[in-house]
């Protein structure tokens, strides 16, 4: 426990940090940019949330440290909030005195207007300080009620904010659904929720959360017999399948296009997960295989380049074969490399491939800067998978197949060899694992799935350009694996949806996409380094139903007693 005086200093310091973060967000322009994005129309905008969220979070953290949970805690929160407010006030004052815009282009009149709630400075600043203090107070206040209420409140607020944020998506999806569409139209304003709609949602979600609290999932599942469980599992799988099949028609063409992009990233993520997640080989040139798949498909099917253009399906085996072969070719020189060295070499490989397709030297065969047009797309009998909505099914099938293969491989002798190499290469060799073939197989499997993604990417755009295969693609795929959870197959899928899907839906963020990305990666590494859905190891000794014996604490004290090594 901290001493009383130091706790106040702590509260002020924490409030200042919160204020500094809010200040930073203001000065990079994201606050003003998102001010027109309403969450509750006329009441609160996304920009305002961005200003006050750090204030709330830091006030809440400081209040949590105080031992007693009383009015004293509330005061701590208010002090922290007030200190945050002071920083923003300082910004406004400074903006009045000197022209900050010379240095900070985003310190615009719009920003000051937002911070003073549209009032003149004299009235706006006291209001800003009051709101900041109240925000801090609220941050502390959420700690006081019992857990059930706390959870209800936080869930209601978070979900309502999310539903307000996703207005465009939800409107597009539900506007054809008769009565539900009426409700949605009543709930939403031109931007964000209406005030009534927000209150309705808060009450509804809060009610559900309150009712569900305590009825934990675990107790419900345990009551079911194995047979019921099996039915439940198949049932939910069937529902999921049905939703996945109907999805492009529910979402319409615009969102289907996003869905295709996300799907391609997930496909690549699943492939790279074999290389990075399973075998522990950090490959930063993964986009090369994607490009090789796309370009092989282009060269073989485009009438511009091929004397006798093949169909998509005819060219597919060749494209995959070339991709796998290139995986082999990359694998050979890097067999003895580990960690950073491997990352640099593979990064170089990715750039070499991009520069080759860009080069004038290979222009007669690969099209140079102009790329390749008129690439074939998959056709099965009367079904033409050329449109975004139809191609979605091919991508979905690709993901299903890849997930299946990756899952099977993971729990096989080969998968175990990959993981052994990842954990300790020398010992893996001593276990009789041939590191040459095992590593090459990892690179080749990864290349196979990236190649598949590449062919679908080419089919989707019916063209391939060197600009599409930047280093950034590789970095995106690595990031989504890290965010989802290294080595975890569901993690890759979730990571793909979060990292690739959300920025596409929230177009307003697009400008700040990589900023949010970076912040997310840093936050993940600090708070949850194992990823959103960490890798789970299969239980082999005991069956799934039985409970695991309590984990005994390792006894590091016993290691190297007496300093012997």
């Amino acid at each position: 426990m901290l001493r009383k005086s130091s706790i106040w200093i702590e509260a002020i310091r924490s409030g200042l940090i919160g204020g500094a973060i809010a200040l930073l967000l203001c000065l990079i322009g994201i606050v003003v940019a998102l001010d027109h994005k309403m969450i509750i129309s006329g009441v609160i905008s996304m920009g305002q949330i961005l200003v006050f969220a750090p204030v709330l979070i830091f006030a809440s953290t400081t209040a949590r440290r105080s031992a007693t949970k009383t009015a004293y805690t509330l005061l701590l929160g208010a002090v922290a909030g007030l200190s945050s407010g002071a920083i923003l006030t300082a910004l406004i004052f400074l903006g009045q005195v000197i022209n900050l815009r010379a240095m900070f282009i985003n310190a615009s009149p719009d920003l000051y207007k937002l911070l003073t709630f549209g009032l003149p400075v004299g009235a706006g600043i006291p209001l800003l300080l009051a709101v900041a203090a109240i925000t801090g107070l609220l941050g502390a206040a959420v700690l006081l009620p019992p857990a059930r209420v706390r959870r209800t409140l936080s869930q209601a607020v978070l979900w309502t904010a999310l539903i307000g944020l996703l207005r465009d998506l939800i409107m597009t999806v539900i506007q054809t659904w008769g009565p539900a569409a009426l409700l949605v139209r009543w709930m939403y304003a031109a931007s964000g929720l209406t005030l009534l709609g927000a209150i309705f949602l808060l009450a509804l979600i809060g009610g559900v959360a309150y009712w569900r609290y305590g009825r934990s999932k675990q107790t419900r599942v345990n009551k079911q017999s194995p047979k019921q469980k099996r039915w439940a599992r198949w049932g939910s799988l069937a529902v999921l399948a049905l939703i996945m099949i109907l999805l492009p028609h529910i979402l319409g063409i615009f969102f289907s296009d996003i869905l295709d992009n996300v799907g391609l990233y997930i496909l690549m993520g699943l492939g790279l997960n074999i290389v990075v997640g399973f075998a522990g080989l950090l490959d930063l040139g993964y986009v090369a295989f994607f490009a090789i798949g796309a370009y092989t498909m282009g060269v073989l099917t485009s009438p511009e380049l091929a004397a006798t253009p093949l169909t998509y399906w005819q060219a597919l085996p060749f494209s995959l074969g070339v991709a796998v072969l290139s995986g082999f070719v990359l694998g050979l020189p890097v067999l003895k490399m580990r960690g950073d060295y491997l990352a640099i070499v593979t990064l170089g490989f990715g750039e070499i491939v991009r520069l080759l397709v860009l080069s004038d030297w290979l222009r007669p065969w690969l099209g140079g800067t102009q790329g390749i047009q008129h690439i074939a797309h998959p056709i099965i009998g009367p079904l033409d998978f050329g449109s975004q909505q139809m191609l979605y099914y091919v991508i979905l099938a690709g993901i299903v197949i890849t997930t299946f293969i990756a899952t099977r491989l993971k729990d096989s002798r080969l998968g175990r060899s990959w993981m052994a190499l990842r954990e300790d290469e020398d010992v893996a060799k001593a276990m009789g694992i041939n590191h040459v073939t095992t590593k090459l197989l990892a690179f080749m499997s990864g290349a196979f799935f990236a190649g598949l993604g590449g062919t679908l990417f080419a089919a989707k755009l019916s063209s391939a350009y060197p600009q599409s295969f930047q280093l950034l693609v590789s970095i995106n795929v690595v990031s989504l694996i890290i965010i989802g959870g290294m080595g975890s197959i569901p993690g890759v899928i979730v990571g793909g949806l979060v990292l690739m899907g959300l920025p596409e839906i929230l177009r307003e963020f697009a400008e700040y996409r990589y900023l949010v990305y970076g912040a997310l990666l840093v936050a993940m590494m600090l708070l949850r380094p194992e990823g959103l859905l960490p890798e789970a190891r299969r239980r082999l000794e005991l069956h799934e139903e039985k409970e695991l014996a309590p984990v005994e604490e390792p006894q590091p004290a016993l290691k190297n007693p007496g300093g012997r090594r």
Binding site: L409, A420, A430, I433, R539, L542, E552
Partner: protein
């Protein structure tokens, strides 16, 4: 008949001769110890046998087959398994998976079998898991199979490492300080266990050990290395009386009575 024969094995690191013309014969189904002060070249010798180092000179034979210069995985396939001085488990894999990796040379499943789950692969996997459970029981780790290896206590990690080495059904087991960091009762248990391995499974044991009580207690033959050179070889009784060994351990001029006390 010797299971392992080393002839004039020499290993140099730059100018340093870590091993100088080591001759060694390990008798089949024997318990043979290599002792020597720190830096004597004991672990280097292990690394030469298992293929991690290639010796500059000399040859190593395993059951009359020349294994000099073979890669580590080839040597393992021929029936050699080892443990490490500082435990080296696959930390982020479960206990059973560690053992399954150890079984690698015995399993045949390939990429296609793994994807298609054909009956042969499934049968092999099933039998492998059963065998792994038997090994768990053998080393007293039943019920711990699904824990992450890193979560086991120290003594159990040692036993798991041995179980992993046994999983490949080796003819020759190299143990690098198996009792390091153990208290007297754990040490006694480990000694019994090593004897048990030889008596029950017929595995030849070659071990590096620092605790004299262990060495003298279970070895049938002892080889003493000092500065990469073999200075003595013999039964525990002979070694305890050997003047050169005493000198290596305690320095020239040490009272032989004191030395004997220490060595016992």
């Amino acid at each position: 008949m010797a299971i392992l024969t080393a002839k004039k094995v020499t290993k140099r690191f730059g100018g340093l001769e870590a091993l100088g013309k080591i001759d060694l014969e390990v008798k089949e189904q024997g318990i043979h110890s290599i002792i020597g002060p720190n830096g004597a070249g004991k672990t280097t010798f292990f690394n030469c046998v298992t293929g991690f180092y290639t010796s500059e000179e000399g040859e190593i034979f395993l059951e009359n087959r020349n294994i000099t210069g073979l890669s580590p995985d080839r040597v393992t396939h021929l029936g050699v398994a080892r443990t490490y001085q500082n435990i080296r488990l696959f930390q982020n894999m479960t206990v059973v998976e560690n053992i399954l990796v150890g079984m690698h040379p015995l399993l045949k499943s390939n990429l296609l079998g793994a994807i298609l789950h054909d009956p042969r692969t499934m049968k092999e996997e099933h039998e492998a898991v059963e065998e792994a459970k038997r090994l768990l029981q053998f080393v007293g780790l039943t019920g711990k199979g699904d824990l992450m290896a890193k979560n086991l206590p120290y003594g159990q990690q040692r036993r798991l490492e041995i179980a992993r080495a046994l999983a490949s059904k080796p003819h020759l087991l190299l143990l690098d300080e198996p009792t390091a960091g153990m208290n007297p009762s754990e040490t006694q248990e480990m000694m019994n266990f090593i004897r048990h391995l030889r008596d029950e499974l017929g595995i030849t044991i070659l071990l590096i050990e620092h605790q004299m009580r262990v060495v003298m207690g279970i070895s049938e033959l002892i080889t003493v290395l000092d500065f990469g050179v073999k200075i003595a070889e013999g039964t525990p009784d002979e070694i305890q009386k050997d003047a050169r060994v005493i000198e290596a351990y305690l320095g020239r001029g040490a009272a032989s009575g004191l030395a004997n006390k220490v060595l016992q």
